[in-house]
């Protein structure tokens, strides 16, 4: 079997009308599991809203924060969600530019994940502010008193970076959906027809529109890649720009970007398994695609592991007493259990992705992807908390595990993300119809070409043996090509 056929990520004989029908069916008539999931998400969100109202009324003390622990799980969760948002850009923009065809059936939900996890992440710096009602002071608006934000502060960079990234990734998601919106407009009735009719912006699918569309999409993809990398580098500056041991580390920007891609890929794997199962998308989200996602995740996991070990080594050999003590304390002190969980989930568990049997076994992939993300969440918390617990001033050493309010808000953020995602999959196609068609089309041609080639080669070989070395031996493909 040839390489193309062996690696083919989708059955090229899928009919276009079936693709339309399957994807549209996934958007209609939600089953009971959907309503249960929706209810769970709303309940989780309600917990967080209740906790936030309490915290707003009585102050940040209700989150259990104290003098050394001015930041805690809120910031860790913020970094976690920002990290999640990078996978969508990786799949849709980076893989688009390098022409990785296999991304096509799965990039849409990954991109939705990007937008929604950014919307989740953006909430955390707000709710952790002591006076959230003055949030807009961070923005450089024109004030009659000539007061500006402090442009030297990484938190101000955060505000710029995240808002830019959120708006561009939302725009990218929307632009990529325009041809699909037109398909939906043509295949639905009632309010949906009106809704998609507005969103498809008068798409007719003529030549000029396609050419403009391709150009815009490519342009946005090129714009988004440096943006994504800069966003997480800036988030890492929140820590790297400080003077604290365990934060003031030069490798933080690449380390954070690697960690972001890592946790994002793990989240894609989780959603992949869930969508494949719930929407019966086995024909679109094939095992071959999962395999490729797993390999990508493994590669990124190794980069992350390497950067993590480098950080330990630099601390160890750097002989900065504060840094070194903190590293030893992380591994042996009160946070030891959490630290070793991070090492296990982040550095050891990815090796399961080396086994093909496991890569093609969906339930174990679900478990592995959740473990990877647990490791990544814990990693963020291991960056934020131990530094504050054991910084320069020994009088202020303190270990903190958070209160109910803090846990509720962190927990509820998953509900908020889930709610947005569940609404998305019923309103918009979570598999890109037009790109799956493109994929099938290209694949069909590739296979045809290959078969053609093979026939020629066989013919040439037959001719060569019959004619007694008419074509050079050992190079039978030459004539076919």
């Amino acid at each position: 079997m040839s390489q193309v056929i062996q690696d083919k990520v989708i059955d090229e004989k899928l009919e276009w009308s079936r693709i339309n029908a399957d994807v549209i069916a996934s958007m209609q008539s939600p089953r009971r599991a959907y309503w249960v999931a929706l209810a769970v998400c709303i309940a989780m969100l309600f917990c967080a809203v209740a906790a936030e109202i309490y915290q707003y009324k009585y102050g940040m003390g209700s989150a259990g924060l104290n003098n050394p622990h001015m930041w805690d799980m809120y910031i860790a969760t913020f970094v976690f969600w920002i990290g999640m948002s990078h996978a969508g850009t990786l799949l849709s923009a980076i893989l688009h530019i390098i022409h990785a065809q296999w991304r096509k059936p799965i990039y849409r939900f990954a991109e939705a994940m990007t937008t929604f996890s950014l919307m989740t992440a953006g909430i955390f710096p707000m709710i952790h502010l002591g006076r959230v009602w003055n949030l807009y002071w961070v923005l450089p608006y024109v004030s009659d008193r000539g007061i500006w934000p402090n442009f030297r502060s990484p938190l101000v960079w955060d505000a710029f970076a995240i808002s830019t990234y959120l708006s561009s990734s939302a725009l990218f998601l929307f632009i990529g959906m325009i041809p699909d919106m037109a398909i939906l407009r043509d295949h639905t009735t009632g309010w949906r027809k009106k809704f998609y009719g507005i969103l498809c912006l008068g798409w007719r699918g003529d030549d000029r529109q396609w050419r403009n569309f391709r150009r815009t999409y490519m342009l946005l993809a090129c714009f988004l890649i440096p943006l994504a990398i800069s966003v997480h580098s800036i988030v890492s500056s929140d820590f790297a720009m400080s003077i604290m041991p365990g934060w003031h580390i030069t490798t933080f920007p690449p380390y954070f970007v690697a960690g972001a891609l890592y946790s994002g890929c793990a989240a894609i794997m989780t959603l992949f398994v869930a969508l494949r199962y719930f929407f019966r998308m086995e024909e679109y989200m094939t095992l071959n695609i999962m395999e490729k996602t797993c390999k990508l995740t493994f590669a990124i996991a190794m980069v992350w592991t390497y950067l993590n070990l480098i950080e330990f080594a630099a601390t160890w050999y750097g002989h900065n007493i504060y840094d070194k003590e903190l590293l030893i304390d992380k591994a042996t002190g009160p946070y030891a259990a959490v630290f070793w969980t991070m090492i296990f989930c982040g550095m050891v568990v990815p090796f399961t992705l080396c086994f093909q049997k496991l890569r093609r076994h969906m339930p174990s992939m679900l478990v592995v992807s959740i473990l990877l993300n647990l490791g990544m969440y814990v990693e963020r918390w291991m960056i934020v908390a131990p530094t504050l617990a054991m910084s320069h001033q020994p009088h202020q050493w303190d270990v903190l595990w958070g209160t109910v309010i803090q846990w509720a808000i962190v927990f509820g953020s998953f509900g908020w993300f889930g709610l947005l995602f569940l609404i998305f999959v019923k309103l918009f196609p979570c598999v890109s119809m037009y790109e799956v068609k493109e994929l099938c089309f290209h694949l069909k041609h590739e296979i045809e070409e290959e078969e053609h080639e093979k026939q020629h080669a066989a013919k040439a070989k037959a001719g060569a043996t019959a004619g007694g070395g008419a074509s050079p031996a050992g190079n039978p493909g030459l004539e076919g090509a």
Binding site: Y58, G59, M60, G61, S62, G64, L65, N66, N67, P68, H69, M70, W71, P125, H128, L129, G130, R131, V132, N134, L135, W137, V138, G146, I147, W148, P149, N150, R152, S153, P154, L155, V156, A159, D238, M241, S242, I243, M244, L388, S391, H392, Q393, P394, H395, Q396, D398
Partner: protein, 280 residues
């Protein structure tokens, strides 16, 4: 600081960003604290509570680490195999060090903390939005956040009469810290201006220095070479700015040091080591 101003005076702002602190100092207020004569009585801390409208947070919140003591007296014991317990704890009154190159200043997103021409690290309560980055970036951990609204609990009705009218009572969500009694500095400056004379040493005395029974805390202006604090700094060979040369430690009388001097934050508080007789 309009855009035009920034563009026209770019070199000025650039220089500021590199060197930290202020460049047209009028005063540089500083302290010298002699730990040898400090008895650890906590009078300074108490005086600070009274002077600066600090809330008493109660037992639970104190234990939760949410106390608001701008000036805390830290206690450190020797290792068990050492001289414990004969010599007791070592005390060190720890307050905002008013660093010349303060790490809290560049990280505030709204510039609520900045350097004044007096060499102080000022906190503008009204501007603070409570991101708490400043406190995270403070090696001394001397910034205190209003985790709760204390107004009702700490000063029930008649007690409100005791509040110092010279400064505000902060509400929840605001960072605060030792100001070197900036209201007293203001009053002294106003007074000297009215009397048309320069500020002299002894015009300003902070609440902690005033309350100290052994006179361990000396407050003054290091730009005035005649002030007590300048003389103490010079005597113990402590200089402004980053750490450069190694100090001569030959003389036992030279006991001065600044906490975390190696971080190059240029603290304005000099401590004098406690002299202990290890032969006891």
């Amino acid at each position: 600081m309009s855009l035009k101003n920034i563009l026209e005076n770019f070199s000025y702002y650039r220089r500021d960003a590199e060197a930290g602190g202020h460049h047209e100092y009028e005063h540089r207020f500083a302290m010298a604290i002699d730990l040898d004569i400090c008895t650890g009585c906590n009078a300074c801390s108490t005086a600070c509570y009274a002077e600066n409208n600090l809330p008493v947070v109660g037992k639970e919140r104190f234990e939760a680490g949410q106390a608001m003591h701008w000036l805390r007296v830290e206690r450190y014991w020797d290792e068990i195999e050492g001289d414990y317990p004969e010599q007791g704890a070592k005390m060190i009154p720890m307050m905002c060090q008013q660093c010349g190159a303060a790490t809290c200043e560049p990280v505030c997103p709204v510039a609520a903390t900045y350097h004044t021409p007096d060499g102080l690290n000022a906190q503008v309560y009204n501007r603070c939005i409570g991101s708490r980055y400043c406190s995270n970036n403070c090696p001394f951990r001397v910034r205190y956040f209003n985790f709760w609204s204390y107004y009702e609990d700490s000063w029930p009705e008649p007690l409100r009469m005791q509040l110092n009218p010279d400064l505000s009572v902060r509400d929840k969500g605001v960072m605060e810290k030792c100001t070197f009694c900036i209201q007293r500095i203001r009053n002294a400056k106003d007074k000297s201006q009215r009397e048309e004379r320069p500020l002299v040493d002894g015009d300003i005395i902070t609440a902690c220095a005033q309350a100290c029974p052994t006179d361990a805390i000396v407050f003054g202006d290091t730009m005035d070479p005649e002030s007590r604090v300048s003389k103490a700094w010079a005597k113990h060979q402590i200089h402004r700015g980053p750490v450069t040369a190694k100090k001569q430690k030959a003389d036992e009388e030279i006991r001065g040091y600044r906490v975390f001097d190696e971080l190059n934050v240029d603290p304005s508080v000099m401590y004098l080591e406690r002299v202990r007789d290890t032969e006891v």
